[in-house]
């Protein structure tokens, strides 16, 4: 703030400053506001002086500010500062609005609080705001008057004219209804067809709950739409020659529209000019308009640049996706004869553009390397709009940023050098989730603590500065979960790193879990520590994004191991109370996922996965004849009967099976934001050796909410709404239950499921995404291929809602009606079921 003289400014020393005019503030205070001091040297006129005045204005406290020079003595100057203080608001009274809510809304929106400085501007904007609000609701006759009244404060005589009351008179009048919409001049389209283009509707007794009010903005849009409708059907010259709004009486208006349709036209020759990169043929193919087609201005525009779809198949994108940022395409009518129009599409290709600097801003938690490795636009690369769009989509899918607020910005665009800089602006969103539960279940208190950190940094755990509150930013996931009840405890931990080594997207996943369950004595209501069941297991897996056939594919492999140990404990899975079992398996999966943009609410794309899980075929080489075990003396008891416990121990010491699953999801954006999700699932569990049989593990349980709860046997629960949890066991089970000794609880080896779900988002804000859905689905499970019939389904339909909040994950509730009876019962339709959905299943 150097003081520089303006024009022939002269340096003075301030001898005195006097404050005059009306003010609530003491002279001292006002002088402090100015920052000027007696004894200070100052240029008049000068930079400092004008800054002081500006500073005072910026305070917004004064309506008039004047500096005077009282007198000059040598180099000494005596200043006078005259100020007029803006009056303060004391009370606001709003007349004409009955509801308190409406009055408060006005106060809030216009910030009318006691103490607010009442400027002319405030009054004008308040008036305009109120008028606009009611006009947009159809009260076209709204009248607003605002008066201010000075208040002489009796308690404080010193205060001059510093306070005012504001009185706002609002006269809404009645809502203006549209009585009729009269259309003339139309021959090609009927009145009805034209009215259908309009959102401005006339009053109709059938539409008593819909609006028939008049909104100017909407009306303008409607007129545009009518003309567009004509243009899309060959009527190039169509226009609205006149439109008038006639006031019938106080509350009713009529709209008269006069349309001039003009003639119907056809496309003539279409030629291209200026194209060197693409041939006429290539461009014609994209354009897709033939000579002789009915003229369609809307389609032509769309094929040149589709404003509604940034990834549209149009000429502009053909250039934009291949480096031609500076390209321009203009259609020009070259000749109109009879009903035919010739076009020339003039193309300025411009220089090819290359990205220079590519930067990311706004990441205050997530480290650069996590973001930059996901960018498809890199320095030195040819410009492509498609790459930018896809990068934005994929950054959104990371789940670390608010997908709705991701924005790419072009900077330093230089058509001469053919370069541009690109800046991605991201906004971090919370990525961690906490699960804390307590409740009574299974004979005692059950407590659960689950923590899931979705943007974890393992590197940061030894750095105390990184705890804010936890080391974050490397894109790793760490989940911890502990559940404890009086008779069982289970702990699990998993960690995953999406880019192992940082070179290529190879995801490493590891997990470990341990469960111990004690025998619960229902008589003593206590656990028996001598009788227990232990499961300890772990897994490690790698998943790699592929580049062939395209880069939406992921190939994964995993090794998993589980050890079961029984001490005098019957679990129903095995026929032995003491013993062990091991489950060592390899899982290979191939999946493809190109859903976008919001992982919570995909607007399109599809998701497929096929996985195969298999154990080594031990029985191929271990030389045990499982079918014959019962005839061997070492597997018989003293009486020569087969000892089922010994046989089962031999059969299940190392589990032997293979399991194949398929899962497909399609998301289609139907219209507006409605999305249809189509889902197909199959699963098959088989044995290599039929004598050894399919183990009672890893089976499919169909029905209900599909939430995997606490289970010992690695079961897979499959959601099928409209039926109780895990209720849809194979149909003929009941008839053979006694003979086979199977219980209803041992699951199926084959299942299939089909589901249709229509979704609509209520809000997609980062703080909470909410969507509603309605579904129809069906599925069935079988004991073997003999019974398999993909059309014999348990069907259901219903509706529900999902809420996603970053801190809690996904919560939802579904109401489903089951149309079929539960297999094995003759109860008729199962009827309504309510399902609560918790966790990340979509």
């Amino acid at each position: 703030q150097e003081d520089i003289p303006i024009a022939n400014g002269k340096e003075y020393t301030i001898a005195d400053i006097k404050v005059t005019g009306s003010s609530n503030y003491s002279e001292n205070t006002v002088i402090t506001f100015t920052g000027l001091r007696v004894g200070e040297k100052i240029y008049i006129p000068g930079d400092r002086m004008s800054n002081v005045i500006k500073k005072l204005w910026d305070l917004g406290l004064f309506s008039d500010i004047n500096f005077y020079i009282d007198k000059v003595e040598g180099n000494d100057v005596y200043l006078e500062l005259e100020i007029q203080e803006v009056p303060e608001l004391r009370n606001v009274k709003i007349n004409g609005l009955k509801k308190k809510k409406h009055r408060e809304e006005i106060l809030k929106k216009n910030k009318l609080k006691a103490g607010t400085k009442v400027t002319e501007n405030l009054i004008a904007t308040t008036r305009a705001n109120i008028k606009e609000k009611y006009t947009s609701e159809g009260y076209l006759n709204t009248d607003v008057k605002i008066v201010t009244r000075e208040v002489k404060d009796t308690a404080d005589v010193q205060q001059s004219n510093s306070k005012v009351d504001m009185i706002v008179n609002v006269e809404k009048g009645d809502k203006v209804k549209i009585k009729s919409v009269n259309i003339s001049g139309n021959e090609v389209f009927s009145d009805w067809k034209i009215r259908r283009q309009m959102k401005t509707k006339r009053k109709n007794f059938l539409r008593f709950w819909k609006r028939s009010k008049f909104i100017d903005e909407q009306y303008e849009k409607d007129k545009d739409k009518i003309v567009k409708k004509y243009k899309s059907q060959g009527y190039r010259d169509a226009r609205i020659v006149s439109d008038s709004i006639i006031r019938l009486d106080e509350d009713d208006i009529a709209i008269n529209l006069k349309i001039e349709e003009g003639n119907k036209y056809y496309f003539g020759n279409i030629s291209f000019l200026g194209n060197s990169v693409y041939s006429d043929e290539q461009l014609k193919q994209v354009l897709g308009i033939q000579k002789g087609d009915v003229y369609n201005g809307v389609l032509l525009k769309k094929k040149i640049a589709d404003t509604e779809r940034p990834d549209g198949d149009d000429l502009t994108n053909l250039y934009q996706n291949n480096g031609y940022l500076f390209s321009q395409i203009n259609p020009v009518e070259t000749r109109v004869y009879n009903d035919t129009i010739d076009f020339e599409i003039r193309i300025v290709e411009g220089k090819e553009a290359y990205f220079d600097n590519v930067v990311v801003k706004g990441n205050d938690k997530t480290n650069d390397h996590v973001i930059y490795r996901n960018l498809r636009t890199r320095p030195g690369q040819k410009y492509s709009k498609e790459d930018v769009v896809r990068t934005v989509r994929e950054l959104g899918q990371l789940g670390f940023f608010d997908a709705e607020q991701l924005s790419p910005e072009f900077k330093n665009v230089n058509p001469n050098d053919g370069t541009l800089d690109l800046e991605y602006n991201v906004v971090e969103s919370g990525a961690s989730q906490i699960e804390l539960q307590g409740g009574y279940g299974g004979g005692g208190f059950v407590g659960t603590l689950g923590l899931s950190f979705n943007n974890f940094s393992l590197k940061g755990i030894f750095d105390k500065d990184a705890y804010k509150p936890l080391p974050m930013g490397d894109g790793q996931t760490l989940s911890l979960r502990a559940q404890a009840a009086s008779y069982y405890q289970t702990y699990s931990l998993s960690f995953s790193e999406p880019w192992l080594g940082g070179k290529k997207p190879i995801r490493l996943t590891t997990s470990f879990s341990h469960t111990i369950q004690y025998y619960y004595d229902f008589y003593n209501r206590d656990k028996n520590s001598n009788r227990s069941f232990l499961i300890t297991g772990g897994s490690i897996g790698l998943a790699k994004r592929l580049t062939i056939p395209d880069d939406y594919f992921t190939l994964s492999t995993a090794l998993s191991f589980q050890h079961f140990n029984l001490k005098n404990y019957n679990v129903g899975l095995f026929n032995f109370p003491d013993g062990y079992s091991n489950n060592f398996a390899i899982t290979v999966g191939l999946s493809r996922d190109n859903t976008f943009t919001n992982p919570i609410y995909p607007m399109g794309g599809s998701k497929f996965s096929i996985t195969a899980k298999f154990t080594p075929p031990y029985s191929l080489w271990n030389g045990i004849d499982y079918g014959n075990l019962k005839n061997k003396p070492e597997y018989q008891d003293e009486n020569g009967n087969p000892d089922l416990a010994k046989i089962d121990q031999q059969k299940f010491n190392w589990l032997e099976y293979y399991k194949i699953k398929f899962n497909g999801d399609w998301y289609n954006n139907l219209f507006d934001k409605f999305v249809l999700r189509t889902n197909v699932e199959y699963g098959f569990l088989g044995a290599y050796n039929n004598d050894r049989g399919i183990p009672p593990f890893e089976r499919f349980y169909l029905g209900g909410d599909g939430l995997g709860g606490y289970s010992l046997d690695g079961r897979e629960t499959v959601r099928l709404r409209g039926y109780p949890n895990q209720s849809l066991t194979p149909i003929d089970r009941n008839y053979t239950a006694t003979t086979r000794g199977a219980t209803r609880n041992d699951g199926a080896t084959i299942y299939n499921k089909y589901s249709l779900e229509l979704r609509y988002p209520i809000t997609l804000k980062p703080s909470a995404s909410i969507f509603a859905l309605t579904f129809a689905e069906g599925g069935a499970s079988y004991d073997g291929f003999r019974d398999f019939n993909p059309f014999e389904l348990n069907r259901s339909a219903g509706f529900g809602v999902r809420i996603f909040m970053p801190a809690f994950g996904l919560l939802g509730i579904d109401f489903g009606y089951g149309f079929d009876p539960i297999p094995g019962t003759n109860s008729g339709p199962n009827g309504w079921e309510t399902h609560f959905i918790i966790g990340q299943q979509f």
């Binding site: 920052g35 220079d356 650069d368 930059y372 890199r378």
Partner: protein, 258 residues
Amino acid sequence: CSEYQKVLKEDDIKAKYVMADSLYNQGKKQGKKGKLKKSLRLLDQIVPQYRGKPQGERLAYIYADTYYQLGSYFDSGYQFERFTKAYPRSEKAEEAYYKGAESYYEVSPRYSLDQTETHKAIDKFQQYISRYPDGEYIGEANELVGDLRDKLDKKQYEIAKQYHHTEDYKAAIAAFNNFIEDNPGSKYIEKAYFYKLDAAYTLAINSYRQLVPARLKEAKEYYGDYFKYYPDGEFSTRAGEISTDIENRLQNINNSNS
């Protein structure tokens, strides 16, 4: 009810002022955060009321400084900035300019995050340095600016290095070129020259046959750049090996062509 609680609850702003001031002085002298926190609660109440009054200047200063002493640098940065704007001629102005800048320095995050605060801190130090070229804290200011600049350099360098690490050599070359152009004095420059050479070389030898000679020649140029500035640099041995290999390969190509 303690004396402090009483003052805190009552409306006597004069008493609050006196107590806040003495708590601040004691807290600062004795290094006691508890006292500073107490002072802060009083200051929160009275600072707005004294704005524009003669005591306002001192209050605004101790308000900012209390935040600073407590280590809440986001607030102290902002409050010192307000102070310097409102009282540019205060005798505490120099200190406030410096401490304000230092607050932003403290807030500046690690290099791999968004550096908005770092840029702001550099700006603030720059203001201090140009305003008080012979100032009391000029040495520290220059040193801290150096730290911040280094952080920005490191950020840009690491991003380019990541392109190299993920084997996107074309992007790496472009990014290293930008880096060298933007930060000629950086301590990462030698590395940048070397990895640019390495990227060009690796790209060349893994290219389609017809592209190899041109790309090798480009890599050779980059070796020239490196060698010119760092004949005895940290990577000169490895760079020399690359250079020899480039020469051999170019020789072979020439031989097989003729």
